[in-house]
């Protein structure tokens, strides 16, 4: 566990999701020099006086990541009473994460509530606020333990745990020959250890690459439009595109029998897929298309099942997809039911349950009205989608943080490991190689939890006959 009041910390200060702006906060004695090191206007920033804003680009060696404003605070005139920089960038979660990740190479991620904590410790907050701060810290930790987060972490955690185990095994080889050199233990096979370390190194590299490409929020939420032919899937699809700007262009080059577009719904990236109509057919080509649709539906985060007044009864009777928990059932073409505009939820409820309009659904499935002919035609649908995908902000930011923190940890471990391999080829002392390995494991254990010396000694004593 790392803990002190003087090292430099960083974190994204604005809520997650796509927004106009996002702010990353960096605080500590090296805040200004660290940000300068990844900033195009290095000198301007390092020489900036307090409260001065500097315009420029965040750069990763040659690549420009984002155009930003850096607001400089000089100690003690800042929230934490330390040197601080607030980087205002575009509100794209991916860019934001990349900047944070660059920073985390040189400083550490702030613990929950740590900026406030420092503000308090540095006498920036008055006494009355003390309890509030500690409450805040506790509250934040509780949220960090939410199970949704743990599920997301699950797979990565397992892989990291395995790598930690492998690295610890290698370290044990060195520790054995240091601490128990006067014992009759098998000689350390440097070649074998090197080979194992290289394997771990490659695994970490792969994890890192995958992590960079496949972040949860970058992938967005996949929503499939499904339903019988001619219920109006494509017009609903187009209506969505008209009203919501596409934030990413479709992936080019893949031949497919469905359309896919990126939308931004209330700041959340959503991939909307218009699938082939579902029906029984003997046409071989169409059969393949329908199979593909089924696959898409099963892998999507959500399905919108579209039906219309003509097919509703049949669908309710025959189609099991409607009853799936991740399906929203939408009745399109409500303009045909003598409405002048999209019915509000009260009128719709009465319409569906009452005999007033002579139409009674046979099931308890919630059916939402929709029409591309009305101005507000797809609003009810849109609200339903947002309601289902939106996570509480705290949870969302945890996910973001977790991902970025993990990537930073993996990257640090990769660096330590490459130092270890270099040390081996330089014939460095075993204690130095062990030092690199300890550092690598310590970075990785930020993801999984610490490995203590006692854990390692337990393994030594249970696996090797030690002692004269």
């Amino acid at each position: 566990m790392r803990f002190n009041l003087t090292d430099t910390i960083a974190a994204i200060a604005t809520p997650a999701g796509t927004s106009a702006l996002s702010i990353i906060r960096v605080s500590g004695s090296n805040a200004i020099s660290i940000v300068s090191s990844i900033f195009s206007e290095k000198d301007k920033l390092s020489n900036a006086s307090g409260y001065q804003a500097v315009h420029g680009y965040i750069v990763d060696s040659e690549d420009i990541i984002d155009e930003v404003m850096c607001l400089v605070y000089r100690n003690p005139q800042s929230y934490t009473s330390e040197d601080m920089v607030e980087i205002s960038g575009h509100g794209n979660p991916d860019l934001c994460n990349r900047i944070l990740q660059l920073l985390l190479k040189q400083c550490r991620m702030a613990e929950p509530g740590e900026f406030t904590f420092r503000a308090f410790m540095n006498h920036k907050l008055d006494l009355a606020q003390a309890e509030a701060v500690s409450d805040l810290i506790h509250a934040q930790t509780a949220k960090a333990e939410i199970s949704a987060l743990n599920q997301l972490k699950g797979n990565l955690s397992n892989e990291i745990s395995n790598i930690i185990k492998e690295l610890t095994d290698s370290r044990i080889q060195f520790e054995l020959s240091i601490d128990f050199s006067d014992q009759d233990l098998p000689e350390l096979g440097l070649d074998k250890v090197t080979e194992k370390l290289e394997q771990s190194y490659n695994k970490l590299k792969e994890l890192y690459q995958n992590g960079r490409q496949g972040k949860m929020l970058r992938d967005g939420f996949t929503v499939c439009l499904s339903g019988a032919p001619n219920v109006g899937k494509s017009s609903v699809f187009n209506k969505f595109l008209e009203q919501n700007r596409a934030i990413v262009t479709p992936e080019p080059g893949t031949t497919r029998d469905y359309l896919e577009e990126w939308l931004s719904l209330d700041g959340y990236p959503v991939k909307l897929i218009d699938t082939a109509g579902l029906r029984t057919t003997k046409n071989q080509v169409e059969k393949i298309g329908i199979e593909r649709t089924k696959e898409l539906i099963s892998s999507a985060d959500m399905t919108i099942y579209l039906t219309d007044p003509d097919t509703l009864n049949k669908d309710l009777a025959d189609n099991t997809l409607i009853y799936d928990s991740k399906t929203i059932c939408v009745l399109n073409k409500v303009d045909l039911l003598n409405f002048d505009s999209l019915p509000d939820s009260q009128i719709w409820k009465e319409y569906l349950s009452g005999t007033k309009f002579g139409f009674v659904p046979k099931s308890k499935v919630k059916i939402y009205p929709c029409s591309t002919y009305f101005a507000e035609g797809i609003n009810a649908l849109k609200e339903q989608i947002i309601a289902r995908i939106s996570l509480p902000d705290t949870q969302l930011s945890s996910i973001l943080v977790t991902n970025t923190r993990h990537l930073a940890a993996i990257e640090k471990a990769i660096e330590s490991l490459s130092k270890a391999l270099q040390a081996i080829s330089d014939f460095a002392g075993y204690e130095f190689i062990a030092f690199d390995l300890i550092e690598a494991v310590s970075s990785l254990s930020e993801i999984t939890g610490a490995v203590t010396t006692d854990d390692m000694l337990d393994r030594i004593f249970s696996s090797f006959c030690i002692g004269k």
Binding site: M1, R2, F3, N4, L5, T6, D7, E111, G113, F117, F120, M121, L127, A130, E131, V133, S134, D135, I137, H138, T141, E175, S177, I178, D179, F180, S181, D182, Q183, D184, D426, F427, A428, G429, Y430, E431, F432, A434, F435, E439, T453, D454, M456, L457, F461, C465, I466, G467, K468
Partner: protein
């Protein structure tokens, strides 16, 4: 003057006791040390050896601080090896075989020659405590001695119970009585006691060995010892001998396993995993076909040899069979039989980092009584207890070494923060700052502290200063001067840059035009080489160390009532209240105390200190 009145009373004159007594007397306190048998002062009850990985580091640190173990070891060594010579410079580990008898004699002499120090042969049976404050001790003969500070360094003697097969009898070690009564006294004082076990192997008459079948292990050509203050030349006087167990050995043990005290169910104490009996090795690692045996001569005036590797509690007849199954020992005659010993120890969470007990003022515990094993571990606690007892007498700040300063700090911090489930032994892997805590720079780390405490004489201090000056001077030269151009080095570079190359050692530099000054000793040259070669690593280590130090600097007041801080999780509060950490850094090392607990604690501390300030202001008004 009252003959029974002292400042500091030390119970026991083993490796912890002698250091405690010497440090106390040297710092000016009138000190008495009690020993059950005068002849066993500084007795090496296990193998006659000092040092090895981590233990050698401890011995060097104690020496630099002004302790005795390294100095006496150098005066009595008969076989020297620097371990890990091929592994890496930060973990080189000096190890010596000592003349057991001579070590005791010289240690006794040093104690006798020490002013302010009184040696008294007595078995202490009670500690006088009034109002949770220690007042003195009572001997088994009924005489009382009084002092404000009592340091208990009773080793394995507390209710010691020796086991050989089904036989068991009270004893402190081979041939000496146990200390009874003292345990009851400690329990009465409210301390929590528990039981550990350790053991020794049989010892044989070296004249009865067949040397043709034994491999010889000579000492190093250029022996290196422990003491920075050494004035004698070290010489290897004996060689160790190596053999191994055979399938016959294993068969004998397997067939008779139930006859051992350990497997016969006679022992309840927990033994160390890193120092198992031969029974344990055979049972727990049945696939290992053979185990090494090291035969270590016990001295130059005796033919006794310590058979390292077959610690056992089997009955004498089986011990003989085991010894005879080992190549070279077929006709060996056993002079002393091996045994297991169970003894009381006090759970180390009862003590503070000063070695003083939390419950009884003025009562200090040092050495094996705190659940450790090993001479060096004991000596380290001894010197720290002695120093802190006197500092407290003088109303001065306590002397606490952190994990980043010394192995001594790692040892004591581990004990008081985490406790131990088996006899605690030091390993280099326990030290997070291993690259900095080296044996070569123990003087640079410890001597200034020892000098300040009055444990290092001016003469020794001057010598150290001179060494530092030479080191600094040559290091600067390496950084500033260019080497000569040679065939494989057409462009001259700084000597330091040259030395950073993996294939170049400091001895190679003469080929590149480095003129080695006469005052640059091998020791200094080695330090410079290490510091330059591994500069990058050392820098990284120092960065870590600074991070560590900041949490260590945030002190927690002694009187703090952790239970009232309701922003800390209940479980963590209980642990904090029990351990009573002295800094935020230590608090966070307590298993079960996490970041948020520490943060809540810090917030509370700040509030607490501001409240105090406000109170003070009110007082003025």
């Amino acid at each position: 003057m009252n003959a029974s009145q002292f400042d500091v009373l030390v119970i026991g004159a083993g490796h912890a006791g002698v250091e405690a007594a010497l440090a106390s007397a040297r710092m000016g306190a009138k000190t008495a040390v009690f020993v059950i048998k005068m002849e066993s002062i500084g007795r090496m009850s296990c193998n006659p050896s000092v040092g090895g990985p981590a233990k050698g580091h401890l011995a060097r640190e104690i020496d630099a601080l002004g302790g005795e173990i390294g100095f006496v070891s150098d005066l009595t060594g008969i076989h020297y090896r620097m371990l890990n010579k091929k592994k890496g410079p930060a973990v080189w580990a000096p190890r010596a075989q000592n003349d057991r008898q001579l070590y005791s004699l010289i240690m006794r002499e040093h104690l006798e020659l020490q002013s302010n120090l009184h040696i008294i042969e007595a078995n202490i049976s009670d500690i006088i405590i009034e109002d949770n404050t220690v007042k003195g001790v009572v001997t088994s003969l009924g005489k009382s001695y009084f002092g404000q500070k009592v340091i208990v360094a009773s080793g394995t003697f507390l209710n010691g119970l020796i086991h050989v097969g089904a036989v068991s009898f009270p004893g402190g070690r081979s041939g000496e009585p146990a200390a009874t009564g003292l345990s009851e006294s400690l329990i009465k004082a409210g301390l929590k006691l528990n039981r550990f076990k350790t053991g020794t192997p049989p010892r044989v008459d070296l004249r009865t060995l067949n040397y043709n079948l034994l491999e010889t292990q000579p000492g190093d050509e250029n022996p290196s010892g422990f003491s920075f203050y050494r004035y004698v030349t070290l010489k290897n006087l004996v060689s160790c001998l190596i053999s191994n167990t055979t399938p016959e050995t294993h068969r004998i043990i397997q067939n008779n396993i139930k006859l051992s005290s350990l497997y016969g169910g006679y022992i309840k104490g927990i033994g160390p995993r890193y120092c198992p009996s031969i029974e344990d090795k055979i049972v727990k690692f049945p696939d290992k076909e053979t185990h090494h045996i090291f035969i270590e001569p016990e001295g130059t005036k005796t033919h006794e040899g310590y058979v390292n590797g077959i610690s056992t509690s089997l009955p004498p007849i089986i011990q003989e069979a085991i010894v005879h199954s080992i190549p070279g020992l077929e006709n060996a005659e056993i002079m002393r039989y091996g045994y297991a010993i169970e003894y009381d120890y006090v759970e180390p969470e009862e003590i503070l980092p000063t070695m003083e007990t939390k419950k009884i003022k003025g009562l200090y515990l040092a050495g094996q009584i705190n659940g450790t094993s090993g001479y060096e571990e004991a000596a380290a606690q001894g010197i720290m207890a002695g120093i802190n007892a006197v500092l407290c007498l003088d109303n001065k700040d306590p002397f606490i070494l952190t994990r980043s300063e010394a192995y001594i700090g790692v040892l004591i911090d581990d004990l008081v923060t985490k406790g131990t489930n088996e006899p605690y032994r030091m390993f280099t892997s326990r030290a997070e700052y291993r690259l900095w805590l080296r044996q070569d720079n123990a003087d640079e780390r410890m001597m200034p502290l020892g000098y300040k405490l009055g444990l290092v004489s001016d003469v020794r201090w001057q010598k150290f200063q001179a060494m530092l000056a030479i080191k600094e001077r040559e290091k600067q030269r390496f950084k500033l001067e260019n080497c000569k151009a040679t065939k494989d080095m057409p462009e001259p570079v700084k000597f330091a840059a040259l030395l950073k190359r993996p294939e170049i050692t400091i001895d190679d530099l003469s080929r590149f035009g480095y003129e080695k000054p006469a005052d640059l000793t091998t020791d200094i040259a080695t330090r410079i080489e290490l510091e330059i070669k591994y500069e990058g690593y050392l820098k990284r280590q120092v960065e870590e160390l600074e991070r560590f130090a900041s949490a260590e600097k945030i002190k927690i007041p002694d009187e703090l009532d952790f239970m009232q801080i309701n922003t800390i999780a209940w479980e963590a509060r209980e642990k904090l209240a029990r351990i009573k950490p002295h800094s935020i850094g230590q608090a966070m090392r307590i298993p079960g105390v996490n970041y948020t607990d520490a943060a809540a604690l810090m917030i509370w501390l700040r509030k607490y200190s501001s409240n105090k300030k406000e109170t003070q202001i009110e007082d003025k008004e």
